[in-house]
Amino acid sequence: MLLSVRDFAVHYRSAAGTVRAVDGVDLDVPEGSITGLVGESGCGKSTLGRALMGVLPDVARIAGGSVVFEGRDIIPLSERDRRAIRWRRMAFIPQTAMNALDPVQRLGAQMLEVLRERGGLGRAPALARAEDLFRQVGLDPARLSDYPHQFSGGMRQRASIALALALNPALVIADEPVTALDVIVQRQVLDVMRDLQSRLGLAMILVTHDMAVVAYACDRVAVMYAGRIVEAGTAAEVLERPRHPYTMGLTHAFPDVHGGTSALVPIEGAPPILIDLHPGCRFAPRCPFAQARCRSETPGLVDGVACFRAGEAETLRDAAARPETWAAP
């Protein structure tokens, strides 16, 4: 396993109290696969991605657990040792490419800086590598002399992918890399990522709110809700035979461009505020299948699903397909 996360927790300080943004997460990322980390805003998916990269904001702290990457736990490492991993072994693609790119520096200069200073390449090999990286993401190497503002949104995202890949990382963490893009550009960028992943044998964590993006691009998926992973497995298993009621609800909650016009079914309510959490499953207040035990005990992730009623998944799936199941009480 390339990356194994166990009982991982990240807390934020806030005026209202401690926010348990990531709370007891287990996640495995195998070599050479794209894992979708999917969930709604505030579920902790971006915090988890940033914590794995070691780029959390000052108000956040790692509150427990381990992250074993390429055979060693990287959480106890010093900032200096983390920096040695960052970019070389594990790279990051932010949602907005402008956050990865320096607006006042030509793209070529930025690539060369990374390749020479961090990768230790000489000038000529670094330039050749930069040109090759641009070609790999579908950009014209002649445009290395452009500034980021001369690029469209899609081109900037390609450039930030090229920059992330500069030092041949084993794992790339991409935080909503296509969310800000138009649908055609989104597809083209996803195709670049899939192509690179398969040619270079990279592992990738694709953080997204969009199940359709997961279905299109990912081999595996982990569904996050209120700071915890509620379901994980191959994309086919999770999307076609969901075992957690939240995943079941999500699959009926948004329109399919080739689907019918039958009514969509919202999941009533909202996720909990992650301060002063009550015991029990965090989805229980919105779950049509919740029982007494769900409100008093927190289910762990067992065999890829964190639900006490996972054994009845088939029956629950049938019920979840009926709109009246999700009607507000």
């Binding site: 055609i184 299109y216 086919a236 919202p266």
Partner: protein, 317 residues
């Protein structure tokens, strides 16, 4: 069906830095009571400018707009006030559409006061609209402030604010794009119900064809300021005629493992310097472009089944 709004040959030209930009060219669109029409396209295609012109938030530089039988194209100031009450925008971002210092009650009373609704009617109108957007019992919501509500709840208030003056037309620009997936369906269902029950005319602006399919019977596809295809939504998505629509439909990911992953039938990227002069604006990205496309701008021509397309392919003429 009576047309609530009818726009003919709308155009918007901006002049900046010595350049003339045709943001919208020759867009015609009519929406009947109880009908929902979608305008779909990528950023910069002119869909939002078109919507803003329909609401007279932006002055058209060409064409005319007839609303409930009256030409409102050149109306200004106070003369537009009755129209403003009857044509409402549903804001995209619920997190900044409401004044954070106003209670929900005040946010809803404000448009009533602006449009001269007698005070005695306010409480009743507020209660009715809260029922319609399912924020009940209303007493438990009306004294709260926006920061006490979730995104989905705020969007219900935004919708209530648009409905409370009693509009005949609502224009929704990406009405759920800022919301979480699990609550989007609730807002879309409310919009559908409001349209059906009140017989509203609705215009939805979105880049998301799946959403448009869910809420709109008829759809216009825009590319670089012009309508390239138009027709009943399901027919248009399942049998697109224009090469751009084909690419747009093919690009939408679907939430299923089995799906088409073939390369998109489109070349290059949207250029920031649109082609000028005659010819099809899509020709440099079109996999099927031929000689005629560079010399003659294809007009939006009628096909059977209420379909229209602006493409020389398959044109007998």
């Amino acid at each position: 069906m009576s047309q609530v709004i009818s726009a003919q040959n709308l155009g918007k030209t901006f002049h900046a830095h010595g350049r003339t930009v045709h943001a919208v060219r020759d867009v015609s669109l009519s929406v009947a009571a109880g009908e929902a029409v979608g305008i779909v396209g990528e950023s910069g295609c002119g869909k939002t400018t078109t919507a803003r012109m329909l609401l007279r938030l932006e002055d058209p530089t060409a064409g005319r707009i007839v609303f409930e039988g009256e030409d409102i194209t050149h109306r200004r100031g106070a003369a537009l006030l009755p129209f403003r009450a009857r044509a409402q925008l549903v804001f995209q971002n619920p997190f900044d559409a409401l004044n954070p210092r106003f209670t929900i009650r005040r946010a809803l009373a404000e448009p009533l006061a602006n449009f001269g609704v007698p005070r005695a009617e306010h409480a009743g109108r507020i209660e009715a609209v809260m029922q319609r957007v399912r924020l009940t019992p209303s007493a438990s919501w009306l004294d709260r402030h926006p920061h006490e509500l979730s995104g989905g709840q705020l969007q219900r208030v935004v919708l209530a604010r648009a409905l409370i003056p009693g509009p005949r037309l609502i224009v929704a620009d990406e009405p759920v794009s800022m919301l979480d997936v699990s609550v989007r369906a609730g807002i879309l269902n409310l919009l559908r119900a409001a349209r059906d029950e009140l017989g509203l005319a609705a215009v939805y602006i979105s880049h998301d064809l799946a959403l448009i399919r869910y809420v709109c019977e008829r759809t216009l596809v825009m590319y670089l300021g012009a309508v390239v295809e138009e027709g009943p939504t399901v027919d248009l998505i399942e049998r697109p005629h224009h090469p751009y629509t084909r690419a747009l439909v093919a690009a939408v990911p679907v939430p299923r493992i089995e799906q088409d992953r073939a390369p998109l039938p489109i070349k290059g990227a949207l250029s920031d310097a649109p082609l000028v002069g005659p010819g099809c604006a899509f020709r440099d990205r079109c996999p099927a472009a031929f000689g005629r496309c560079a010399v003659e701008t294809p007009p939006l021509r009628e096909l059977s089944g209420r379909r229209k397309v602006a493409c020389h392919l398959g044109d007998p003429a």
